[in-house]
C-alpha cells in the first residue's frame, strides 16, 4: 500500500525489469519464428503454441489469483471460461447459421459480444462464489467441481441455448480467422494476457485486493474490522470469473467453435495441472505452467526413448513428466526457482549480518513480495480457543 509508494528500492526496480524483459520477449516471439521455421511451422508456433499458451495461461491465472490471494482453489474456472465462450457464440451468431437449431442468437459483432460475455462471466463467477464460498476444504472443492460438471451436462443436453452436443461453429474474432492473420491474433492474446496480469497485480494492492488477502489470512478478524466477508469472497469470485471469461473469449475466437468438450472435466483438470506446475502461489506461474503444458501435450507423442515410441502412450509420458514436476517442485516451477533464490539470498545475508529476532521468526512469510504470495497461515493455528466458529460462516 503505502509500501508501494515509499519502497522503490533497487530490488523493486530489478523486479520491475524482469517482467518488462519477459513482455519484450513475448512481443518479439512471433517475429522471430519465421527466421527459424517454415511458414507453416511459424504459424503453428504463433497460434497453437504461443496464443494457446497465453489463453490457457489467463484461465490458470484466474485460478492462481483466487488461490493465492483468496485462499480458494476453485475448480469452476474452466467452466466460467467456457461459459463466456458460449455467450460469445450466442451473441455473435444468428439462429439460422447454427447447425443444431439453437433458437437464440443475436448476430452481434465480436467486440460487443465479448463485452456481454465478460459481464455475464463476471456475474456467473459471483454466483458460483455465492454458492461455494460458504463451504471450505474438500466441500469447497466438491461444490466447485459439481458446478463444473453440472455446466458440462447443461450445455451437452440443452439445444435451445447451447447447441447441445455439437455446439456452435464459425465464430470469428475481431482479427478474423486466426490462421489468416496469426500475428494479429497472437498480439491480441498477448495484450489481453498482459492486461489480465498487470490488472491483477494492480488490483491486489488496492483496497479490494487487500481485503481478499486479509479474508484469506483471517476472515474472523475481517468481520471484526467491519467487513462483510461473504461479499468480499463473492467479489473475488466475480473477478476470477471475469479473468476466466477473458480466456474463454479468446479461446472461442481461437478455435472458431465451441462444444461441450471445451468444458468437460479434463479441461478443468488441465487448468488445475497448469496452475500446479507453474506454482499455485505465483501469478506468473500460470503462463510458465501453460507453456510447459502445451509443449508437453504437443510433443509427448513425438518422443522416443531408447527406441520406444510414445506415440500411442503419450499420456503416459505427460503423466510421468507431471508427476516428476509435482514431486520435485511441490510449489510449482516458479516456486522452485523463487524459493531456491530466496534460500540462497537468506544464506548470504545471514552470513554477513545476524538476523534480528523478528526476521529469524519470520520464515518465508517474512519475504512478502509482489511476486510470490506468502503462503496463508492455516487458520486452524490461529483460531481463538474460545470460538466454535458458530456464526463464522
Amino acid at each position: 500500500m503505502s509500501g508501494m509508494s515509499s519502497r522503490m528500492s533497487g530490488r523493486a526496480a530489478r523486479r520491475a525489469g524482469l517482467p518488462a524483459l519477459g513482455v519484450a520477449l513475448l512481443v518479439l516471439y512471433p517475429l522471430v519464428l519465421p527466421l527459424l521455421f517454415s511458414a507453416n511451422q511459424a504459424r503453428y508456433w504463433t497460434l497453437s503454441i504461443g496464443s494457446n499458451s497465453l489463453i490457457l495461461g489467463v484461465v490458470a491465472l484466474s485460478l492462481i489469483f483466487m488461490s493465492g490471494y483468496g485462499g480458494m482453489v476453485s475448480l469452476a474456472q474452466a467452466s466460467l471460461a467456457g461459459f463466456a465462450a458460449y455467450i460469445v457464440a450466442i451473441m455473435n451468431l444468428l439462429p439460422s447459421s447454427t447447425a443444431t437449431g439453437a433458437t437464440i442468437g443475436f448476430g452481434w459483432p465480436p467486440i460487443p459480444s465479448a463485452i456481454v460475455a465478460l459481464i455475464l462471466a463476471t456475474l456467473a463467477g459471483a454466483l458460483v462464489g455465492a454458492i461455494a464460498s460458504r463451504s471450505s476444504g474438500i466441500y469447497f472443492l466438491m461444490l466447485t467441481l459439481a458446478i463444473a460438471v453440472g455446466f458440462f451436462y447443461v450445455v451437452l443436453q440443452n439445444y435451445e441455448f447451447f447447441g447441445g452436443h455439437i455446439g456452435f461453429a464459425q465464430i470469428l474474432g475481431p482479427t478474423g480467422q486466426p490462421r489468416a492473420n496469426p500475428i494479429a491474433f497472437y498480439y491480441m492474446c498477448l495484450a489481453v494476457a498482459v492486461f489480465a496480469y498487470l490488472g491483477l497485480r494492480y488490483l491486489v494492492r488496492t483496497q479490494l485486493g487487500l481485503t481478499f488477502q486479509a479474508v484469506r489470512d483471517n476472515p474472523r478478524r475481517m468481520r471484526a474490522l467491519g467487513y462483510r466477508v461473504s461479499l468480499h469472497r463473492i467479489a473475488i469470485f466475480a473477478i476470477g470469473g471475469f479473468v476466466a471469461g477473458l480466456s474463454g473469449v479468446l479461446g472461442v475466437w481461437y478455435r472458431g467453435n465451441i462444444s461441450p468438450g471445451v468444458v468437460d472435466l479434463s479441461r478443468t483438470i488441465d487448468v488445475l495441472i497448469i496452475a500446479v506446475i507453474g506454482g499455485l502461489g505465483y501469478p506468473v506461474g500460470a503462463f510458465i505452467g501453460a507453456v510447459i503444458f502445451v509443449i508437453l501435450d504437443v510433443f509427448a507423442s513425438s518422443v522416443e526413448v531408447f527406441g520406444f515410441s510414445f506415440d500411442e502412450r503419450f499420456n503416459t509420458l505427460i503423466g510421468l513428466a507431471f508427476v516428476v514436476i509435482v514431486l520435485v517442485a511441490p510449489h510449482g516451477l516458479v516456486g522452485l526457482v523463487d524459493r531456491g533464490w530466496k534460500g540462497t539470498k537468506r544464506r548470504l545475508s545471514s552470513s554477513r549480518a545476524p538476523a534480528t529476532a523478528g526476521e529469524a521468526a519470520a520464515g518465508p512469510a517474512g519475504d512478502a513480495t509482489e511476486e510470490g504470495i506468502p503462503a496463508p497461515v492455516d487458520p486452524i493455528d490461529q483460531r481463538d480457543p474460545g470460538s466454535t466458529g458458530i456464526g463464522n460462516s
Partner: protein
C-alpha cells in the same frame, strides 16, 4: 475456514488426475512396430513399381486414444498400418515405400472432442508438415475437421472412421475425402428388412445424442419411414449414460421393436437394465450396438438379443475371399488385436488404401498444392475387403453394407449372421436427390414419422 486445506487437496487432485492420465492408455495394446515382417502377409498388390523417387511422403494418422473410444482408436491405427503393410511393403526393405519414396506415418491421439482433434490435426499439418492427414475417428471430430480442411486447401484430408452425414453431404470441403461409408450408409438395408421381412410397423428408439447416432437413425428411418413404418418415440441420451431407468420406464409397450443406437458400455447398460425391468421387445441395432464387444460380454441380457437385426459395413461371419484374406492378414500382423477387425479398422484401412492408390496414380507427386493428387484421388476405385469402393462427386465413398441377425451358434455363443449384402450403396441410400428426406440435415427431430 481452512482454505489452506483446499489448496493441499487441489494439489493432491491434480496429482491424482495426472496419474490417471498416465494410466489411461495403459490398457491400450502397443502398436505393432511399423516394420512388421513383410512375409507375414502377402501384399495384396505391391506399389513398388511406381516411379517415385527422392521424396518422403508424410502421412499423419489421427484417432482417439483417450475417452470412450480409446479401443476403437487402436483399431483405427491398426487399419492404417495394415493398409501400409499390405500395399506398401517392399521385399528386403524396412518401412513403407512407393517406388523409391519412403512413406512415413506420424500418429496423434485425440479424446473424441472436436477441440482436441483440431489441435492434434493442426500439430500434424502445421508442425509435423504431413502431406496427407488420415482421421479422425468420431462424428463431431469429422465435422470440425472438414471446417479446418477448408482453411488448408493445399493439404489432403482423408477421413478415418467418422461417419456423420454432413462431413461430406452438405457444404463439403474440396480437399476432404472419405473412402469409408457414413452412418446412414451403415444402416442400408436395415429399415426395409425390418418392415418387409420382420414385419415391424411401429418402433421406438433409444440413441446417443450426437451426430453419429443422428446419422445412423437417419439411415434407418429413410428406409423404414419410406416403407410405411412409424417411429413413435425417440429417446436421446447423453453419450456415457449409465442409468437408463427413466428411459426404460418411458418406453411404450405396444411397439413391435426398439431401435437401439448405443455403443459399447452404453449398450450393455441399456440391455441389462431393460431386461431387468422385464422388457420383452425385439431389438433393431445400430452398427456398433451389437458388435463383438457387446456380444462378448455375455451378460444376462444375451438371450434377449437373439433375433436382433442390425446392419454394418463389416461382418465377422462374411465369407468372401477378399474379406478372409484381410482378416488373415489382420490376425497375422496384430496378434494382440481383436478377434476380428471391426468397422473402425476397416474404415481406416479403406481410407489408407484409397490414399495409396491415389499416390500411385500420380507416382507420389504432391507438387502444385497437391491439385493433381487430389484429382487422381477423387477418381480412385478399388476392391476393398468387403467389396468395391469408389467416390461420388462429394468425394464420399460408395460401397458395400451387410444386414445381419444375431443368432446363437452351435457353441452357444452369439454371432451376427449375414442375411444380405448390398454393394455400391450411395450416400443417399438410393433416395432421389429431391427426396424430402434429404432436404434437411439429420438431427434429433429429423427425419420424423410418428
Amino acid at each position: 475456514m481452512t482454505f489452506a486445506t483446499t489448496k493441499k487437496l487441489a494439489v493432491l487432485i491434480a496429482a491424482t488426475a495426472i496419474l490417471a492420465a498416465a494410466c489411461s492408455s495403459g490398457n491400450a495394446t502397443t502398436a505393432p512396430a511399423s516394420q512388421a515382417p513383410a512375409d507375414s502377409a502377402a501384399p495384396a498388390e505391391s506399389m513398388a513399381a511406381a516411379t517415385c523417387s527422392g521424396k518422403t511422403i508424410k502421412l499423419g494418422g489421427l484417432a482417439t486414444l483417450e475417452g470412450p473410444f480409446a479401443v476403437p482408436g487402436q483399431e483405427g491405427f491398426r487399419g492404417i498400418e495394415q493398409a501400409l503393410n499390405d500395399y506398401a511393403k517392399v521385399e528386403g526393405k524396412e518401412g513403407w515405400w512407393l517406388g523409391d519414396c519412403e512413406i512415413t506415418l506420424t500418429k496423434e491421439g485425440s479424446d473424441a472432442t472436436p477441440a482436441v482433434a483440431l489441435e492434434k490435426a493442426k500439430k500434424l499439418i502445421e508442425q509435423d508438415d504431413v502431406d496427407i492427414l488420415i482421421g479422425p475417428l468420431s462424428g463431431d471430430e469429422g465435422l470440425a475437421m472438414k471446417d479446418y480442411a477448408k482453411q488448408v486447401p493445399d493439404k489432403t484430408f482423408v477421413n478415418g472412421s467418422s461417419a456423420a452425414q454432413d462431413t461430406t453431404f452438405r457444404d463439403p470441403a474440396p480437399n476432404f475425402f472419405r473412402f469409408s461409408t457414413d452412418g446412414a450408409q451403415w444402416q442400408a438395408g436395415l429399415g426395409k428388412y425390418a418392415f418387409d421381412d420382420k414385419g415391424y410397423k411401429k418402433v421406438a428408439l433409444v440413441a446417443e445424442d450426437y451426430s453419429f447416432p443422428y446419422t445412423q437413425v437417419g439411415g434407418f428411418m429413410y428406409e423404414f419411414c419410406e416403407a410405411g413404418g412409424k417411429v413413435v418415440q425417440k429417446n436421446w441420451v447423453p453419450l456415457g449414460t449409465k442409468d437408463y431407468s427413466a428411459v426404460v420406464s418411458n418406453l411404450p409397450t405396444d411397439v413391435d421393436a426398439i431401435y437401439v443406437a448405443l455403443g459399447g458400455a452404453d449398450a450393455v447398460n441399456f440391455f441389462t437394465q431393460y431386461q431387468a425391468a422385464g422388457g420383452k421387445a425385439k431389438f433393431i441395432g445400430g452398427s456398433i450396438t451389437v458388435d463383438q464387444s457387446v456380444l462378448a460380454t455375455e451378460g444376462a441380457f444375451a438371450d434377449s438379443l437373439v433375433g436382433t437385426i442390425t446392419a454394418s459395413p463389416t461382418s465377422d461371419t462374411a465369407t468372401e475371399p477378399a474379406w478372409l484374406e484381410y482378416v488373415k492378414n489382420y490376425k497375422a500382423q496384430f496378434p494382440d488385436g481383436l478377434p476380428y477387425p471391426g468397422l473402425f479398422a476397416l474404415s481406416y484401412y479403406n481410407e489408407t488404401v484409397g490414399v495409396l492408390k491415389g499416390l500411385e496414380a500420380v507416382n507420389g507427386d504432391l507438387s502444385g498444392d497437391q491439385k493433381a493428387f487430389m484429382e487422381a484421388l477423387a477418381k480412385v476405385t478399388f476392391d476393398g475387403p468387403t467389396g468395391p469402393v469408389s467416390l461420388d462427386s462429394n468425394r464420399q465413398a460408395i460401397s458395400s453394407n451387410y444386414v445381419s441377425e444375431i443368432q446363437k451358434g452351435a457353441d452357444g455363443k452369439l454371432a451376427a449372421v449375414v442375411i444380405s449384402k448390398v454393394d455400391n450403396i450411395p450416400q443417399t441410400l438410393g433416395l432421389p436427390a429431391d427426396s424430402p428426406y434429404l432436404a434437411q440435415p439429420v438431427s434429433r427431430d429429423f427425419p420424423d414419422c410418428p
